[in-house]
Amino acid sequence: MHRNEMTPIRSVALIGNPNSGKSSVFNQLTGMRQKVGNFPGVTVDKKTGLVALGVDTTIQLVDFPGTYSFYPHSDDERIVVQTLTHPGDRNYPDAIIYVADMTKLDKHLLLYTQLMDLGLPLILALNMSDVAEKEGVKVDVERLQAQLGGPVVVISGRTGQGIDLLKQLLADWATNGAPAPASSFYRLSPAEMVIAREVQQYFPSLNEYQALLTAHHYNWLSHLSKSERDQVANTVSAQHFQSLNSQVEETMDRYDRFTPLLRQSILSVKENVGALTTRLDAILTHRVAGLLIFFGIMLLVFQAIYAWAAYPMDAIEAAFSFLAERVREGLPAGWLSGLIADGLLAGLGGIVVFVPQIAILFFLITLLEEVGYMARAVFLFDRIMQVFGLNGRSVVAMISGGACAIPAVMSTRTISNWKERLITILVTPFISCSARIPVYTVLIGFVVPPERIWGVLSLQGLAFMGLYLLGIAAALLAAIVFKWILKSRERSFLLLELPEYRAPLMRNIWLTVWEKSKTFVVEAGKVIIVISIALWALASFGPPGSMAAAEQEARRQSEQYGFDEHQRDNLIAANRLEASFAGQLGRAIEPAIRPLGFDWKIGIALITSFAAREVFVGTMATIYSLGGADDEATVRDRLSKEKDPITGELVYTPATSASLLIFYVFAMMCMSTLAVVKRETKSWKWPLIQFLFMTGLAYISSLAVSVLCSLFSVLCSLFSVLCSLFSVLC
């Protein structure tokens, strides 16, 4: 049944095959007026935008994930069927624009014919007219329009050609109403007809084809209630409905019918398709050269986020500490200036400082995606990553994780298999990021002597590399564990279209960079600010009276020892931190971390470095009343002299330091990453699990190191006792 009345359209769905150039068309139609949300219940991005169609006419355009047909294999693709078989859905459109690659119409028309059968007004947008022109592909639009019985527009998302025509058509439909397709394309087989009729009895608002799709997909269609699902299941089994067979028959029938139509309306076909692409791929996907080139590109990406981002990051940090300094000077000393300078501004700075890395990584990743290279990376690494339950694209995330886990986690969006994506998100923070470097630098000096092997290889450098390798090994091993634990309804397969190489469209890239940076600042920012303020409060307040007492004690001592103003202030800061809630917490967790060889001072640093790992160095500087002297050499020098007040032994023995190093390699000590993981997985469950297993592993490994070290020293002393005994006896 088709609707006879013509209702003006308000919302339009943009649908197309992957690689049809859909997102370029979306950007052309909406410009900057777009926002990213998500489809209900799943972690699939939903891009919505407004299309201006005249003075006061706008329609809403919803960009759906690219899919090949109504028989989907991933959550992304399922969204399309889910929405279009549920007229009550919030995203159910009034009309559809179907984007097809004009040069591949013989493949891309399948989904179009399926959309025809929904009975919704439908526009066929033949995209990539610029490429078609270059390659000599010509389509008889008039004829195709007549054959399909619906409007056909030739456009180019790249050059903007034809977009105005498309908008005119939409404007007409938005004011005068839109015609539904004259007839449906596919004729249901008798068996399909029976089942569709039965399903329609339960769901009168569905047309025949929607009812058939419901019979195919009732298992996972989430809008069905338990009883509705059971009803459809009963019908399906009572009629012995063979879903897979019917699916194949339907698909074949559609091809058999539209292929002859196309032969009449495609006037000339390009001959040697993708000659340039094939030539390039002979090198880029070569089993040796391809891998080398990939690692070369990744080295460049790493270099860009690691080194190039340092300049804007330094500038941002300087700007925020300048602002904080102004606040401290401008406002009377007290909790307000502390809240603004050390809570709010520190939190804000902690967010904004990551923007250069995020922007640069997404610029490069989107560039690689746009030119078509990413699909090749998947092809190259599919097998090896499969072993670890990961995806070819996970390589990119894990390498980026070497700079910073935040953009790396965000970059997993391009992994379409949910399980593979989740594992990538969960294990990427094991890769040593740049924030761990200051911690490593301070602590390695205690464990490894500054010597060289054969006069060339620095032992400390080797230890550094060892820590990185440890992180990588942990990531891969954890991935294998998750591969076994996590269940997935998605069957793992690789059937990937390798798009032809194209010059990148800069507008698409900038829009992605802008959208990713904005999402990070807004979404992760909320969480980070709250935690930053909480950490500030913990470090600045203590049980009533104790803070004042600590300060007075510091003043008394300063006078006693004749400290100058600077030394006095540092001692006050150290005593206050000790007396604060953070200090109390440090003492409270001391029993738990004692077995690892850590005292309560390290406990405080562990708590505060949750804001960001590099805060460890700064906190250590404050605790040891070094004031602003938070450069690594000074801190290391001071720590090397620290003694246990009871036993009189050095605190930073090689054993403690090794244990602490291992702890920092594994522990999830970064609230920003957790905030981003929450944002990407849309629940607190995964960041919580991640925090627990990473920190748990850190604890166990640290304990092991600590125990082994003390065993070793016991053995050493035993040995020396034996030696002396032996020498006495002799």
Binding site: D106, K270, D281, H286, F379, D382, F493, L494, P499
Partner: protein, 79 residues
């Protein structure tokens, strides 16, 4: 006609450089997915190369380039 009992060669067993026509799919699930992508019985297939670890195939079907695993290619029966 099917005069011999010989089963058609699978795409997974083809060497790089081989060309042929798809006869049918052994396995409806992969078959359905391939068909949705426009890889149909009767399509011309050209095996361009294997992936570095040999478990992936880079093929050209009509006018498109596709990467797939050997497992999937084993479901494609050639003429």
């Amino acid at each position: 006609m099917v005069a011999t009992s010989q089963i058609g060669k699978r795409l997974a067993d083809c060497a790089p450089g081989a060309t042929g026509q798809i006869a049918y799919y052994a396995g409806n699930e992969i078959g359905a997915k391939l068909m949705a992508m426009g890889v149909l019985p009767g399509s011309m297939v050209n095996v361009l190369r294997f992936s570095p670890w040999g478990e992936g195939l880079y093929i050209k079907v009509d006018n498109q380039l596709i990467a797939l695993r050997k497992e999937e290619a084993a479901c494609i029966v050639m003429k």
